[in-house]
Symmetry: C2
Subunit: 301 residues, 2 copies
């Protein structure tokens, strides 16, 4: 049984902030909800930067590339550079690169433009994605569904244009192309894709492909340690001086804990205080608080 989380307070906030060199933030439910910035986030990030803290944004949302995420931050009035962003779309491309996936092989994508852009930046040619969103696969007599035998990896992320064509394409690649990799950007069941409610996440599309292929994917997003290993290698900071801030126990907090970071749960996303305190929950962050800007308010208190 894990120790229970400490409520962030005027007494413990300074010790936390002083001990941390880099804050790693989840985005959805921490920085924003859908298209709306969460109150006080901008001022809190400014304060942390003014104290010389390194800020890193790690998101399981694969629908955008790092460049597109930087644009989203910009549109919300926050200045973040591409180098500070680690999205699961980027992680998928980096996984292939680190594992020396041959550049002459192709990658079939269930997901958004962000995955295709990151694949291209890494030197790979992707197919599928948005382009296949309007394609139809029908059970017609004497009709044979062709797929590219040169696809050596299938990447599955969140896809609001999921359809049977894409599912059949991915299934044929994984089942019939020898050694074809099956990579999941992440397996979040749902996410706050809009401010007002939750929507099926990549976990939904990934499960569909597991269901048809009877195979399990390689997961590159949180809580897998792949992104963290990559991140630790890039920044030269000890995990004990990093704090993972997230709204999900089973991805964000677990991700931070797996790497030996401090962890702070915010209740501005999918996790409620009662879920956190429920006896069935065995993931306990070091600290928890209502929303990110509490850090600023408590420091000022």
């Amino acid at each position: 049984m894990a120790n229970s989380a400490a409520h962030l307070s005027p007494q413990n906030v300074r010790g936390l902030v002083d001990s941390i060199e880099a804050f790693i933030f989840d985005c959805d439910g921490v920085i924003w909800k859908g298209y709306k910035l969460i109150d006080g986030v901008s001022q809190t990030l400014d304060m942390l930067r003014s104290k010389g803290k390194k800020l890193v944004f790690v998101t399981n949302n694969s629908s955008r590339s790092r460049r597109q995420f930087a644009e989203k931050f910009e549109s919300l009035g926050i200045s973040v550079s591409e180098d500070e962003i680690f999205s699961s779309s980027f992680a998928a491309a980096m996984y292939l690169k680190i594992n020396k996936f041959p550049s002459e092989k192709k990658v079939y994508v269930i997901g958004g433009e962000g995955i295709l852009e990151e694949l291209q930046l890494a030197g790979y040619s992707g197919l599928g994605g948005p382009e296949d969103g309007k394609k139809i696969a029908e059970w017609k007599q004497n009709c044979f569904f062709e797929h590219d035998k040169n696809v050596g990896a299938v990447v599955v992320g969140i896809d609001p244009y999921i359809n049977y064509y894409k599912l059949q394409y991915a299934t044929l690649c994984i089942r019939e192309n020898p050694g074809c990799l099956f990579i999941a950007t992440n397996r979040d069941s749902v996410g706050h894709m809009t401010e007002l409610q939750e929507w099926p996440g990549a976990g939904c599309m990934v499960a569909a492909v597991c269901g048809s292929t009877e195979k399990e994917p390689i997961v590159v997003g949180k809580p897998s340690t792949f992104l963290m290993d990559f991140l630790l290698q890039r920044f030269n900071i000890s995990p004990s001086k990093m704090c993972m801030v997230g709204d999900r126990l089973d991805t964000d907090i677990l991700f931070g804990q797996n790497a030996g970071c401090k962890t702070l749960l915010v209740l501005s996303g999918v996790t409620t205080e009662s879920t956190l305190q429920d006896p069935s929950n065995n993931i306990q962050p070091d600290y928890y608080t209502g929303k990110l800007s509490d850090v600023l308010e408590l420091l000022d208190a």
Copy 2:
């Protein structure tokens, strides 16, 4: 470890046929592949009927109702009555009926017309299905995705028009409507939906909903015993005098074995002889043969 299967032969075929009062047939891969009847099926069924055998057709394919399956048989030149057909679309409706699902509650359907027709025949009002195949769910700012709070059950079957709208609708019903049932017609990973190749089966759509809801469904099709219990109650025949004939080990053969029936695997569908003989396979039918009409040929030999 199960005993290994006996190859059907001139020596054992008569003993099998004589000992059986009712043959239960899977359809896809046994009777037909996609839109094409498998060679010799018609003559074999005629021969069995002429010997006074009861014939029953049990299919996990939920895309059609019993009426629509009878039409398909007719179009292929085989006369089968609706009473002889047990489809997983029918099973879903019967599950609700037997469990006294209130008729004033609604049922949301991911799947085909067949499920909606069987629900209606059982006195239930379904929504979703083909009607929602062209609907689009987009992540728009300030837009709230509404769902019917009166939906008390979600039925998921094979759906070539699966989309994000249906997945969000089903997910909201299961997550937010208190006590909402999650029923899977079946969980076949793939099926010979066309003669030339396999396609993602209901297992793909069911897994997608498991992925977004983090819930497991009630399965009414094979290999669950629900349909067999229903079938045994309708016909007054001892299971030991019934023989399940199918092409899938993990649905058909397991289904027959779970009920105490004799089992005959045919290799005209998804299972190859090497899969059957593989040491990792622990489902062994009593008998196996290439295709259904071997029964006729071996009896004549």
